[in-house]
Amino acid sequence: MLLWTFILIFLTLVAIYFYVSNVFGAVSESVRASASLNSDKITGIINVLQASPSVTCNRYALPRIDCTLRIDDMRVNFTDNKNQISYINYYLQSPVTVRTGSGLIEIACDPSTEKAIYMARCGNEIIISESAITCGAVAC
């Protein structure tokens, strides 16, 4: 009887160990790849930059998944290409304008390497770019 109990407890602990590590792995993966969360976070950064002093910079690392980030004159659109999930968030409109070059920034994430998006408040505008930004004479 005692032996049986020990065997069962041992099996239970092994199962819990594998379960917990799997669950945490899956949750962190789904959070990392979440279109809504990524879109929300990038929108939040743009909103906060609008209320920040000039030469405030931010680098946002894109997840290593098959995804596409589009930022236009009004909104942030993050698409998880693998699961075909797209999420759009509108950022605030204020006297600080958001400069997206030709009106649209489109960045394809790379599952093999880490890509990042750079955002900086420079004077009365926010510059968004795929490469590091120089704000006036100051490099971010």
Partner: protein, 478 residues
């Protein structure tokens, strides 16, 4: 040799062992069952904080989080969302000065009253001292000056079926009120205040954002059509009326005797667009699509646009065109292999959002659907559960904008709709006679078609009243 039966202790231990083993197995199965993580982003809460941060930073303020009284005065009582706004969500801000002004005589309150209530002619009726200064603003006595501006959602005469959401958060701020005794000094002129910021997510904010996005990005936007039900209407009726009340004030409205009755759900909105209305049964919501289309040449639009197919391609703005206005329209799809709503059977009518049309007696099978286009003349004589569409046809007839010089003919759809008894027996129009109780229930008033609408009162009595057809007849038939 006889077999020994187990003792009670052995049986009990065996039972415990069995339950324990089964429990472990079930536990392991549950653990490896599929799960789906759900994230709650609290977007509106976060937006409220970011909005407050931005409002405290930009042009409304004299310094960071110190609001300028003159600018607050300028926007007080308006529905503007000045300097900072979010396309999808509307907001209103109520900023209240925290300190009261102590006094012993009315004359000590003049400065308070002119500042707090912006009174130019101060009298004892609008400005008084009752230990603290008080003045009259919007027919109420106030002790703490307050400023309110933003999206006008504080009185809602109706609610969308899909619940609107809103959050309210309070932030500590200051207001700079210059001291007239020390005009060149900044000492003691920042007064403590609180700002209550409410963020709203409603159909009006979403629709206004959809139109604005089409205009700014020159792209057609699409949503599944919601159901906005007016309280005054009977159930199962959805209406979708959107227009500018005046200037840049966008509102939802209701039709009362052919006149737009604007609700208090209004938003400051500068984007030009074509007024739009659409009436439909609740069962068709989420089955048709509402689109906002950027238009480069407004003159190419038909006088009345409801279906997207009626917008000529030449009128739609491309990326290099300037957008003159934005048109809202309804788009429906067809099952593969079918090109016209007449080819749909009853089930497909419901599935694809086309109202079914019954001809003649209610026991007859439906013969097809209609796209509810104004130009489609469909006899409407069904007395069953889909009878409301009769009224919607009547609505179409009655919404002819040019004056109607003669009474509608007996074959007009609105007249057909009226030709039924309250018992549900269909009376063909040509059998209608002056002796019928409803005879003459159509006519002209102010250049508009009128017909009679029956409403079931408590106890089952049906009361008729005149209507211009812009509201529905929802008699459910026998």
């Amino acid at each position: 040799m006889s077999e020994e039966s187990p003792t009670i202790t052995e049986s009990l231990l065996y039972l415990i062992k069995f339950i324990f083993s089964a429990g472990v197995i079930i536990f392991i199965i549950i653990m490896f069952t599929n799960f789906r993580p759900v994230m709650k982003l609290n977007s509106m809460e976060r937006l409220s904080i970011e909005m407050a941060e931005n409002m405290g930073q930009h042009s409304l303020v004299a310094d960071r989080m110190v609001f300028d009284k003159d600018k607050l005065d300028f926007y007080d009582g308006t529905i503007n969302e000045p300097y900072v706004r979010q396309c999808e969500y509307g907001y209103d801000a109520k900023i209240t000065l925290m300190e009261e002004t102590q006094c012993q005589a009315n004359s000590e309150c003049n400065n308070f009253c002119s500042n707090a209530c912006r009174i130019s002619q101060i009298t004892a009726d609008n400005c008084k001292c009752d230990k603290v200064c008080q003045c009259q603003k919007n027919n109420a006595w106030i002790k703490n000056p307050e400023w309110l501006f933003g999206y006008d959602r504080h009185v809602a005469p109706y609610y969308g079926e899909e619940s609107s959401s809103y959050i309210e958060r309070t932030y500590p701020v200051s207001i700079r009120i210059p001291n007239p005794q020390k005009p060149f000094s900044y000492y003691d002129d920042a007064k403590p205040a609180v700002m209550v910021l409410s963020i709203y997510d409603t159909w009006l904010t979403r629709l206004s954002c959809m139109i604005e996005t089409s205009h700014r990005l020159k792209k057609t936007q699409t949503i599944k059509i919601p159901c906005i039900t007016f309280r005054s209407s009977l159930s199962r009726e959805c209406s979708f009326p959107l227009a500018k009340k005046t200037g840049n004030i966008l509102c939802l409205y209701d039709m009362q005797s052919g006149v737009k009755s604007f609700t208090n759900d209004c938003r400051y909105f500068e984007t030009p667009f074509q007024d739009f209305y659409y009436y439909y049964s609740e069962e068709y919501k989420e089955k048709v699509f509402l689109k906002s289309v950027p238009i480069k040449t407004q003159s190419l639009l038909p006088s009345y646009t409801q279906l997207c197919s009626s917008i000529p391609a030449a009128a739609i703005a491309g990326e290099s065109d300037a957008v003159e206005t934005v048109a809202l329209c309804i788009e429906k799809t067809m099952p593969s292999g079918k090109t016209s709503c007449d080819q749909l059977n009853a089930g497909e009518c419901i599935q694809y959002g086309y109202p079914c049309v019954w001809y003649g007696h209610p026991t007859q099978d439906p013969r097809g659907c209609t796209d509810m286009s104004v130009s489609t003349l469909v006899p409407c004589a069904y007395t069953g559960t889909l009878e409301m569409y009769c009224a919607s046809f009547a609505s179409a007839v009655c919404q002819i904008e040019s004056p109607v010089n003669s009474a509608p003919s007996m074959n007009d759809r609105n007249v057909f709709c009226l030709k039924r008894s309250i018992q549900g027996t269909f009376i063909p129009a040509n059998l209608y006679s002056p002796s019928d109780p409803d005879y003459g229930t159509y006519g002209i008033n102010g250049g508009k078609c009128l017909c009679k609408k029956g409403e079931t009162q408590a106890g089952g009595t049906i009361v008729y009243r005149w209507t211009d057809g812009t509201d529905y007849y929802t008699y459910n038939g026998p």
